[in-house]
Symmetry: C2
Subunit: 293 residues, 2 copies
Amino acid sequence: MTQIYNDIAIIGIGLIGASAAISAKHNKLGGQIHCYDGSAQVREEAKSLRIGDVIHDDIASAVASADLVILAVPVGAMQAVMADIAPHLKSGCVITDTGSTKTSVIRDVKPSVPENCTFIAGHPLAGTEFSGPAAGFASLFDGRYWLLVPDDAPRAKTDQLSDFLAGMGALVEEMEAEYHDKIVAITSHLPHLIAYTIVGTAVDLESDLKEDVIRFSASGFRDFTRIAASDPTMWRDVFLNNDKAVLEMLQRFNEDLSYLQRAIRWHEGDKLFDLFTRTRSIRKSIIEAGQDN
Amino acid sequence: MTQIYNDIAIIGIGLIGASAAISAKHNKLGGQIHCYDGSAQVREEAKSLRIGDVIHDDIASAVASADLVILAVPVGAMQAVMADIAPHLKSGCVITDTGSTKTSVIRDVKPSVPENCTFIAGHPLAGTEFSGPAAGFASLFDGRYWLLVPDDAPRAKTDQLSDFLAGMGALVEEMEAEYHDKIVAITSHLPHLIAYTIVGTAVDLESDLKEDVIRFSASGFRDFTRIAASDPTMWRDVFLNNDKAVLEMLQRFNEDLSYLQRAIRWHEGDKLFDLFTRTRSIRKSIIEAGQDN
């Protein structure tokens, strides 16, 4: 791979930040990879895991020489982090983020971006149920979409960032913030909310039944528990910051669920069969789109 | 493995029936394995796949010599199938089933069981999103629970059936029908209903958005589409036959979802964070119980 940037700074060394640091270094996409995390414990862990080139103990020195700064913190922390780094940024640098919501991040981050720097919002559609630096790995973004919201960023800056992301194996797509938020509301945020809910319902069961639910957890519930084991801070922030799109999709979901509930109560088997047949087709489309793993 | 039964008959050559036939033969648990399916096309497919020892074209001859009859048909078909085979059963034979609901199957099947035969309801907690004979494989039940509801069956008959199921690698557990139905309502039926609903909600989206939802389907939604690709007939019958327990769990789920919906609307982040932390613990319990795959 060709080097795309000189120095790169990664703020937040969780699953995503650590994976970006490991992948950028592995693919030789940058000069020095500078990392910083607000938690001293995470910084120590990252040091012992040898993630990136330098783990900084202060955020100012982490970003000082960077041509690319990646904000890989929960979306609720973006505003404060951007305000913190703003006075220390190198002129001409590009700042991007990895947050799961885009309207809110642009709203929170843009006002603090210095005039001689460029912010390009981003979101890698990649992750696992694990969190923290030890969960990071080089191929996390390989073959996965990385959505960019270039907005009014100069074309050359966006292209350079795209090259960098493609260097980590990502498939880059550009779109608008609101459209992005709608798509992830249904593909990611609502499924997570539902998974959290159903696992929460199980957590509240009488203790004998709860033990057997864990013991006999079949496919279905098991998949839900994996989803519901995702990072609580990140997901709290997602729901608070994509509330509009999530609540809209939830409204549709509730209507559709009531329809099925009624069909079960009144033994309307044909309504159930009809829906279960239609949903099958979407799985085929996903397999055909190569997004089934 | 020791042979547990002489002849075995398997009625219904879908994913479960085919896997049982393949596994029983592979593990030498029976003499001849006789198979039958109501669909001529499925019988032809099973013949070309060489599933079992004999594929019969009529159900009477399939069960005639069997010491064990396994009913692996959708739960809505159990009553008719049992009535069909009753006059042709060998004296002393054991009949079991693989249905996902137990109260309804016992209610539907028991009245037709001849006095000189024994019915022991069963349910393997195993499956994939694929269906039909070609989806079957020998190790489907390996390390998976197979729940039995022996009710008033003679101990020796239940023990023999347990030995047979253990011979296919299954972990056999006995319980009562109503308790079984409650457990699967939360571990399997409700998750499937929810997955069907959310994928259905996506199917009904405006076509541009729907295409991008498929394209950018992330973890979460992708897991749901896999679940929602399960066999429509089987699942219609499950919901119609475990309606009581499913509707009860759905009521709890709806309450819990409303609570989260309200927390999102009013930006009560602590409520979200609290639940997301509690749900994480159940995943750990499942991993510790060795049921995480």
